[in-house]
Structures are given as C-alpha cells and as structure tokens.
C-alpha cells in the first residue's frame, strides 16, 4: 500500500511549483470556462460554447490529451528544452482548435455571425505562454538566440494569419473590415512612439551629461521632470492644447508643419516630455557609475574632455542609458494608445472605437498588436544592451 502511494505521488520537491499553478489554472479553464463564444452579431453578448459542442469528438479528445501531456511535463519534468517543446506543442494545438471551432460554427458565406475566443482559450494561452517564457528563461539563451526566437514566433504567427487560418475568428473579421486602415494606424503608432523617443534622446543625452558635470543642476532638472511625470496623460494633452493651438494660429510655419492643438502634435510633445525623466536619470546614473579611476587615468594620459566623454564615459555608461531608452520605448508604445483620444491616431483608434461601439473584438484588434509591439521592443533592446555591455562580471578569470 505504501509502495503504491509512493509511485502515485512522487516526492513533493519533484513537483514543479509553477507547473502546478499553471496546470491547475489550465484544468479549471478546460472544465469551467467557455472555449469559444458565439454571437449572432458583433455587439450582442455572446453565448458560451463548450469544447465538445464545437469540435468533433476526436478533435476535443486530441486537444485534451495534448494539454494533459503538457501539464504532466510542466509538473514533473525539469529539463527546460522539453518544457519549452511541450508548451509550444500546446500552443499549436490550441491555435488549431480555436481555428477549427470558428470554421465549424460559421455558416459558409456568413458575414454577420461572430465566433470569438472564449475565456477558457485565453486562460490556456496565457498559461502556456508563461510556461514557454519560464522555460526560455531557464535555458539562459544568448541575446542572438532570444532575438531569433522572437522573430520565429512572430513570423509563424504572421504566416498563419496571412494564410487565413483564423479568418473566421471575430478579431480577424474586424481586421477584414479595417484592413485598409490597419497598416496605416500600425505604422502611425510606431512612428509616434519612435519619433517622440528620438526627440527625447536628442535632448536628454546632453541634458544628462550636463547634470552629471554640474551637480547643482541635478535637483532642479530631475525635480521638474519628475513633476511632469506625475501629470496624467489626458491632463497633459489638455494643458498642451492651448499653447500648441496658439502657436498654430500665430505662426504659419508651425501650422504648415501640421502642429495643431489636437492631433499628433500634442501627443508627440506629451510623450517626449514623459520620456525625458527616465532617460536623463539613467544618463546621470550611468555616468556616475563609471569608475572614477578610469576617468582620472584617461585625463592623466592626455585625453581631452571630449575624448574622455566619447571614449571612456559614454561607452561605459551605455548599458544604463540603453536601459532608460528601453523603459521609454515600452512606455511610449503603451501610451501612444491614448493619443487616439485627441485625434493622434495609432492603434488606440481601434481600441477607443471598439469601446464606443461595445465591440470587444475591435478593442482586441488594437490591443493585441500593442502588446506584441511592446514585448518585441523590450526583447530587442534587452538583447542589444547585453551585446553592448562589454564589462560583464560573468567572464572567467584567465589565471591558471
């Protein structure tokens, strides 16, 4: 009896804690949450549909089997590569299942009925996503591998979407309606986030260097930027409307450049202002972190102040400065969303239209790409920081 128990229940420490949590969440989602939601049109509340109602028996059983095996791997196997493979297998089967469910529920040629992924699908997707990221973290891949993994994931997802695999899912229905505007708004989103970031880099870098050189400037400059950071975005848009409007009315050149009280101009200015604090602060911290002995030696060997800055101080501060840029870029990609409220455009347009029409699918059409953009920017810049940081403490000592 004792022996059988021992086989049935492996020692406690061999059960992976994250695996336990994710498996429990996934199981609950499979049992109690709807896999897809069926709506007779895009704005009515949907009716939940169980897995068994929307898939042929073998399909439902197949999905459940694969997910169960994934849960077993998540619970008992510690090898990171196997955990990643199991998570990816789970994601693929899940994607196939939701596409098949949408195709099965949609009558041919129908443009009114909607099939959306249900809460069960999303909980399972998030659990599998966490399992995959945890496995990747455990594998400690180098920066290049991480970028390649990101590119592969985005590429596969894009190929599946382009091939029309999910065309009967409600989000893709919204895309089909907005397919002309979508690339424009996506590009505009990237441009607003990136442009305000670039403008901030141009000002924040010299400002940070100045604050480092003249310590007296630090409290007033950082204090002011901190104050700006505390103003809510909507309030800042409002504050900027009057001066920008006046500028456009009185300076024809400004108006010709497209500067107005509403639209892209106040959005870019607001994002630019929000970007300054993290970048100036990180520039100051990065420069202060540079070994004083190295700076002293550089001066003592005859480098001019400009050479000390460009050859010693900035290269050594670069990883910290780039971390500031990463924070700002991710922050901007999220905040550009609100620019849509004042006519600034971007993916936020879909989000706010969707809210206005109570069409949750349209909200997702804006929100999902924003999450993907922010995540990709974060992975790319993290990799860049790691490549550029030539002073890791991890490198081995060379002494025999």
């Amino acid at each position: 009896m004792e022996l059988r128990l021992a086989i049935a229940l492996p020692p406690r420490e061999r059960i992976d804690r994250l695996g336990l949590l994710l498996s429990a969440a996934g199981l609950a989602a499979l049992i109690w949450l709807p896999f897809v939601v069926f709506k007779s049109n895009r704005i009515v509340p949907g009716e939940p549909r169980e897995l068994q109602q929307v898939l042929p028996t073998w399909g439902a059983l197949g999905l459940q089997t694969v997910l169960l095996l994934t849960a077993v791997v998540a619970l008992f196997i510690s090898d990171a590569k196997r955990r990643l493979s199991a998570a990816l297998a789970g994601v693929i089967v899940l994607a196939l299942a939701v596409a098949a469910a949408a195709n099965a529920l949609t009558p041919a040629g129908d443009k009114v009925m909607r099939v959306a992924a249900g809460a069960g699908f999303w909980v399972l997707l998030i659990a599998l996503g966490l399992l995959a990221t945890d496995a990747i973290t455990r594998m400690r891949p180098g920066p290049l591998i991480r970028v390649l993994l990101l590119a592969a994931s985005v590429g596969i997802a894009w190929a599946a979407l382009a091939a029309g695999m999910f065309d009967n899912l409600s989000v893709m229905r919204e895309y089909a309606v907005n397919s002309g505007r979508f690339p424009l708004e996506l590009w505009r989103h990237v441009w607003l986030a990136g442009g305000s970031l670039l403008a901030a880099v141009v000002l924040a870098l010299p400002l940070g260097i100045l604050c480092h050189r003249v310590p007296r400037l630090r409290p007033p400059v950082l204090g002011t930027l901190n104050l700006i950071q505390t103003i809510p975005a909507i309030a800042l848009f409002g504050i900027l409307m009057a001066p920008l409007g006046a500028l456009a009315a009185n300076v024809p050149a400004a108006a010709a450049l497209g500067i107005r009280g509403i639209g892209a101009a106040p959005a870019v200015v607001a994002l630019f202002l929000y970007s300054l604090l993290p970048m100036v602060a990180n520039t100051v911290v990065g420069l202060r972190r540079v070994s004083q002995a190295a700076v002293e030696a550089a001066r003592g060997m005859g480098m001019t102040p400009g050479q000390v800055l460009s050859r010693v101080e900035l290269p050594l501060a670069l990883p910290v400065i780039l971390t500031g840029i990463r924070v700002v870029l991710v922050q901007n990609i999220g905040m550009v969303t609100i620019a849509a409220l004042i006519g600034g455009g971007g993916l936020g347009t879909f989000v706010f239209q969707g809210i206005g029409q109570t069409a949750i699918d349209l909200v997702l059409l804006g929100a999902i790409p924003i999450v993907v953009l922010a995540f990709s920017a974060s992975v790319l810049l993290d990799a860049l920081i790691e490549v550029l940081d030539r002073t890791p403490s991890m490198a081995p000592q060379l002494n025999p």
């Binding site: 030696a297 003592g300 010693v312 403490s393 490198a395």
Partner: protein, 310 residues
C-alpha cells in the same frame, strides 16, 4: 630634469600645498611620502597639471609646463594610479595602446610596442592581449597599468600610490619590477606613497611632506641619520632606525677583502639580511659570493655594525 619652484595650491582658504621647491634628477626615482592629507598627491598632480597650481611653476627640461596645452603635456608624461584605472571596456592591448593612439603613432609601431611591453611585464600576449582587465589578477592589472603608462616612451613617469591595492608578496614583486624597468629605460620616476618602507626601498631621494609643506628632501640614509624635523624622525621610525640604515646598503657595496668560512651571501643582499643570517647561524663573518660563484670579499659582524651608526 624636473624643477619644482615655489609650488602652492589653495582651495578657498585651505592651503593644500605650501610653497614647495625641489629638483628631481634625470634617471632617478624620487618618492614623495607623507600621511593622508599631507598634499603629496596634489603635488604630484600639479606636475602634469591635473591640478593647476595657485602659485609657482614646474620646469620640465628647463621649459615651463604652462607653455603647452595641458593634454599635450600629459601625453609626454606617464601616469599610473592606485587601483590601476584600466578601461574596463577595452582589452589589455587596447589599454596599453591608449597614448600611442592619441599621439597618432603608425599601427605597426603601436603593435610592436604592445608586444615589447607585454614581454617586459611578463604578460603572455597570446593569453592576455585580447583579455579584458577584469579577467586578470590584481598583480597583472597593476602591471598592465604601468605598461600603459610607459607605452609612449615617456621620459617622466608619475605614480600615485601604484602598489597601494596589492597584497604584500605581489607588492614586493611589483617594487622589484619597477626598479628593473627604471634601470632599463632610464625613466625619471616620481612616486607618491604613504609607506616609508616603500619610499626607502625605491627612492634615490625621498621628499617627506606634512600639512602641505616639504619638510625634508634627501637621500634615504640622510633622512635616517640627519632628520631636520621631529616629524621626519617620527615618520622614519626612531626605534629601529639602525636596522633601516643597514637595509639601505648591500653586501656587494661594502664587502672587505679577505676570506671567510661563514655563510655565503649574495652581493645584492642588504646588510640587514646578512646580519640576520649571521645571528641565525652563529658565525662571526660571511663570505660575499657573486652570481658567477666568484668570492667578492667578506663581512664581519663588527664591520656590519659600523654601518648601522650615523
């Protein structure tokens, strides 16, 4: 070679260096020694104008150092500091090449100089040239720091507590290396330390500083036998000054003609070491034998003791 004339530095109402004057001979090692806050580092940093003097001037080969831009002056003067100040983002070879690159040497000459210096400083180029400073031991980092300071063949080398961060054994080795390299290149070295032992060991002349003033500038033996200030006597240490005096003379310098059946000692051994050996072995005299095995003379206890008196 280096003439320091009435050099002063004031920060507000605080005088850090107070009217210091002394000359440093070509091809010699001058050590500036003092307690912390004595102004010794500030004095050193005024020689290459990292600190601009409030009054007085420094003449290098008779020319006032204020007559050329400070950064060009510094490229002609080697500079090594405590904790070595290596650039952590540059390889050992790139670190060593710093000043030659600033001076625009042709690449072939730079590479030749890097190889030469790495060999002199016992750093295997195949192993360490492309390594980063944090991959080296403390002693190796310190050697790279000195190699970098000497890269552009400066006539003058300034060193600010260069061995301060090393443990005693590596430190003794680094001091020996410095003496050998100074003899090899004939560099004029100005070294700052708070350690009187180090000053006596390295300095042809030692400048003792206290509270910004130069108390005495003389040969080590003269500091022991004729201190001009009670502070100098305190710094040099009164209780064992006879032993310190013996440590300044080597057996080869004072060996007398004759033979001895006592212990054999090298000409480079100090009288202090020979006396210690005689005490240990119970003999009354030692035979000084050169590296070639030829006897150079003998030393009796009485003869050694005579050198321990002023």
């Amino acid at each position: 070679m280096i003439q320091i004339e009435g050099l002063s530095k004031q920060y507000g109402s605080t005088t850090v260096v107070d009217r210091v004057s002394f000359d440093i001979e070509r091809n010699s090692i001058a050590v500036i020694v003092g307690t912390s806050g004595s102004g010794k580092s500030t004095l050193l940093r005024m020689i290459n104008r990292l600190v601009e003097p409030t009054a007085g001037c420094v003449l290098l080969d008779g020319a006032d150092t204020r007559n050329e831009p400070a950064h060009l002056l510094r490229r002609r003067i080697g500079y090594a500091i405590q904790g070595n100040g290596l650039f952590p983002h540059r390889t050992v070879a790139e670190n060593i090449a710093t000043v030659p690159r600033l001076l625009g040497w042709p690449e072939a000459r730079i590479q030749a100089r890097i190889s030469e210096l790495m060999e002199i400083f016992q750093l295997d180029a195949a192993l360490y040239a492309d390594a980063f400073p944090h991959q080296l031991s403390g002693g190796q980092q310190q050697r790279v720091g000195v190699a970098r300071a000497l890269a552009a063949e400066p006539a003058v080398l300034l060193m600010d507590e260069p061995f301060g961060a090393l443990d005693p054994i590596i430190r003794a080795k680094a001091q020996e290396d410095l003496l050998a390299i100074q003899r090899r290149f004939g560099t004029t070295v100005v070294l700052v330390t708070h350690d009187m032992e180090e000053a006596f060991r390295l300095g042809h002349r030692v400048a003792v500083m206290s509270q910004g003033r130069l108390l005495q500038y003389d040969r080590p033996a003269a500091l022991l036998t004729h201190p001009t200030d009670p502070f100098v006597a305190r710094m040099t240490g009164v209780s064992d000054r006879a032993m310190k005096l013996l440590a300044l003379t080597t057996a080869g310098e004072v060996a007398l003609p004759g033979n001895s059946d006592g212990p054999r000692v090298a000409p480079s051994a100090t009288l202090r070491e020979v006396l210690s050996e005689l005490l240990w072995s119970g003999a009354t005299s030692a035979l000084v034998v050169g590296d070639d095995g030829e006897p150079r003379g003998q030393l009796t206890v009485a003869a050694i003791l005579a050198h321990g008196r002023p």
